[in-house]
């Protein structure tokens, strides 16, 4: 059994043996890619002189090899096949055209979208890109080239590009905010969202519409309608960023009629809970931390904090800080009332 470093070297030295003749002079390059929350993946690129090349990640390929699911030779062959099918896909062919003008802001203005990540866990990545800080979160900006339910291909606006564009951070943010049209935002009850996702799985499992509906109904029967909501985008990929938009925050408060808590369930979506007496912020925060620890991939985690939106003040805040602020205000009010001279004789 090869060690991980030996495996990487083996793939680097042998992958071209499984590629067509025209790749014989290509260069294979190993690199490390910094993903969300400081997660680092080992990547492999085959540089053949074309403007767009897919990136293969070796971490997962090694896991498959180590588990004994596939032999070393078959693994390298599979990586070579994966590379070729990605390279020949329509998406990659069309990026080459779309990429030619990406250094001109007017050419990509309509493709800018915002994403949200944890500020503290992404300090290294954020050092090289323009970003806005909101509470303990950071908003970054991305040029989207292709987007559908299967995946989104994009490029982050880094400092180099940002300076080329010659715009301010506020202008970049405003562009992203304006690009987020209301039809791009998905806001629905949790039960409806789950019904949609569970039905696909249930139908694949049993192959019968009626039976699939019954399975879903049974799974969701204990859930109360309209007590929890989800906000995301239409693809459900990196959709938690919708809550960074002022117009989305206001739209939610209009729809549910007031203040609400925001549970950052992942970088892909947020759970929205209308404020009610039965919900205690400290309990919700403990739940967020448990789910992050047990159900969320490290690169998909958004935050361990609970947030809330004050619809009167139009303010988005970490709940703990909002509570401290309210207590401070109450104490000040009490102090003022104590200092007032007594009116009784």
């Amino acid at each position: 059994m090869l060690t991980y470093d030996e495996f990487k070297s083996y793939v680097e030295e042998n992958i071209l043996r499984y590629m067509p003749e025209n790749y014989r002079n290509a260069q294979v390059q190993l690199d490390r890619v910094l993903k969300n929350n400081g997660v680092v993946l080992d990547s492999l690129k085959i540089m053949d002189g074309t403007p767009v090349t897919p990136v293969l990640y070796l971490n997962h390929a090694y896991e498959i090899y180590r588990n004994g699911d596939i032999s070393l030779e078959d693994n390298v062959k599979k990586l070579a096949n994966d590379y070729q099918s990605a390279k020949q896909s329509e998406e990659v062919v069309s990026y080459s055209k779309k990429l030619s003008n990406y250094t001109y802001f007017d050419e990509i203005r309509d493709r800018i979208e915002m994403r949200v990540c944890n500020l503290e866990n992404n300090t290294e990545r954020l050092a090289g890109v323009p970003h806005k800080v909101v509470a303990d979160l950071a908003i970054t900006y991305h040029i989207v080239f292709q987007s559908n339910d299967r995946g989104v291909t994009s490029m982050i606006v880094n400092n180099q590009l940002f300076h080329l564009y010659g715009i301010t951070l506020d202008q970049l943010h405003e562009t992203a905010e304006n690009n987020l049209a209301s039809q791009d935002v998905k806001f629905d009850s949790l039960t409806n969202i789950l019904r949609e996702k569970l039905y696909i799985d249930a139908y694949e499992f049993c192959g019968n519409e009626q039976k699939a509906r019954e399975i879903v109904q049974k799974e969701l029967e204990a859930m109360e309608e309209n007590s929890m909501y989800i906000v995301t985008n239409q693809t459900g990929i990196n959709g938690a960023s919708c809550i960074m938009s002022d117009k989305v925050k206001e739209m939610i408060s209009e729809k549910i009629g007031g203040d609400y808590y925001i549970i950052p369930s992942s970088i892909h979506e947020c759970l929205i809970l209308p404020k009610r007496d039965e919900l205690l912020p400290e309990e919700l925060q403990a739940m967020i931390q448990e789910v992050n620890r047990t159900q969320v991939l490290p690169e998909e985690k958004l935050s361990d904090n609970l947030y809330e939106y004050d619809s009167k003040e139009k303010k988005f805040q970490i709940s703990e800080e909002a509570l401290e602020h309210r207590m401070k205000q109450e104490k000040e009010l009490e102090k003022k009332q104590e200092q007032k001279p007594s009116m009784t004789p």
Binding site: V33, P51, V52, V55, Y95, L99, Y102, T103, H142, F145, R150, G151, V152, T153, S154, M155, I156, N158, Q160, L161, L190, I193, L194, K197, L198, I200, D201, A222, M223, E224, S227, M228, I230, T235, G236, I237, N238, I263, S265, S266, H268, E269, L271, L273, D277, E278, L279, L280, E283, L284, M287, I288, E290, V291, T294, Q295, V296, L297, E300
Partner: protein, 42 residues
């Protein structure tokens, strides 16, 4: 300039499992609090 294209995905089954887990935890706490209120006259 180096073009660093990123490909992002979201596995629907992972999304469902984290949301169901959160829903169950929240619903349980809410129910407990409602029951307690029924039994205590404040």
């Amino acid at each position: 300039m180096q073009k660093n294209l990123e490909y992002s995905t979201n596995d629907p089954s992972r999304m469902v499992s984290r949301l169901i887990k959160l829903e169950k935890m929240i619903a349980k706490k809410e129910q407990e609090r409602k029951e307690r209120r029924k039994n205590v006259d404040l």
